[in-house]
Amino acid sequence: MDLVATVVDGILLGGLYALFASGLSLIFGVMRLVNIAHGDLIVLSAFIALVVTDHFGVHPLVSLVLVVPFMALLGYGLQRGIFNRALDSDILRPVLVSFGVSVFLQNALLQTFSADSRRLQAGNLETLHLDLPGGMAVGVLPCLMFMVALVVIGGLQLLLYHTELGRAFRSVSDDQQTAQLMGINNAHLFGLAMALSLAIVSVAGVFLGIRTNFDPSIGPTRMIFACEAIIIGGLGDLWGTLLGGVILGIAQTLGAWINPGYQILAGHFVFLAILTLRPQGIFAKIR
């Protein structure tokens, strides 16, 4: 029974990892940019949520009303002001620029908030449980994270395949030059993609901050989890990313169940195993 509960925990944790990953996946899909700063942006949004909750005395989930638009605007500005200038040359330059943004963010957060561990106080949401038949209990928070991940990925899927904006995203992803001939302003569209990515990031950041302690240095590890979820699922497939997150989550909780020290290691091990056995990922779609 304990094992089943561990697996269920892992599945639900996968929802959080899918939230980490879907914004990263969107950016890579639309503009072929591997945003190294993605993890630090998750941590940044957790800190911004911390400031908002402290200042207004609201619940962390309510703080999203401010954090989401703030991060979206920041994303648009970041893209048009910095990343767009580095794109359309070779693939290395944008990666280096995003690495620079990552270093800057970590140090700016360290300077502003110190290296202390923080947490978003979510009241009884942290401890609420649903009792399942068979004497099992699952936390309301993990369930909520998983449901939000489903909604975000479902929403992204709808946007990409059933709206004009989504069609524009996919055409730019296919062929940037020809997309311009359709009347698409690539620089603006990339800005919108980054805004959307950081809107998702801010939801992920708030859940991260409720679930665990955070400090300015934990960004890169979240970025690696996100990358692993994307690659396990197969590049370019959002539901695959959710599955990748779930597999990573199960691997980590099972690792921790065997020995608490094995949590992260087990996740990386499963990732490496899948990379060896099926390097294109489970739902490979990339051309």
Partner: protein, 236 residues
Amino acid sequence: MESNGPLLEARALTAFYGDFQALFDIDFRIERNETVAIIGSNGAGKSTLLKSITGLVRAKAEAISFDGQAIGGNPPYRIVGQGISMVPEGRRLFPSLSVEENLSIGAYSKRQGPWNLEAVYAVFPMLKEKRSVPATALSGGQQQMVAIGRALMANPRLLLCDEISLGLAPVIIKEIYAQLEGISANGTTLVIVEQDIKRAMAVSDRVYCIREGRVVLEGRPRDLGREEMTKAYFGM
């Protein structure tokens, strides 16, 4: 508000790829409702000329004017909205979009006019049956029809077609050119880039021959002899 001058005019147009100069002082003019063919061998600068007009290759502001307005140096996405569409060489359909999505994205600039999905399907009925198929799963001729339809969806006043007969069977080429004639008859000005001199002279009101980035011959097909064209084409 339409001026009375030519629809499009290029004056002393130059174009560069880095240090390499691809066009040298091109003077080029397209009258309203005329069909102009540009011929020339590979690398002569035909595609570069079209790319300069659409903004994909940068031009000086005063070098190109469209309906009396300077459009040189405008970004491509704005030029589409001003009424110039291009069918790019090699079709360049979006592989992850269906036929209908490829057509719809052509209307992204929201220019008003007679063209919409129904109108395109009326001209190319076989596309309607294949509307939900990925565009790159079609035959070459059908892909070319999608590319033309996609450009029409922007309701252009000037349609630039870059080597649309390349790699297609003669019977398909004939059909596509027949449709283009109809499109031209409805008031769209056409520029056609062709390597096939005979076809270019048959469909156009006026011909420009480009060699090594310069206009070497210009005139009406009936005034120019085949021999003169061939000489200009090969630089003999």
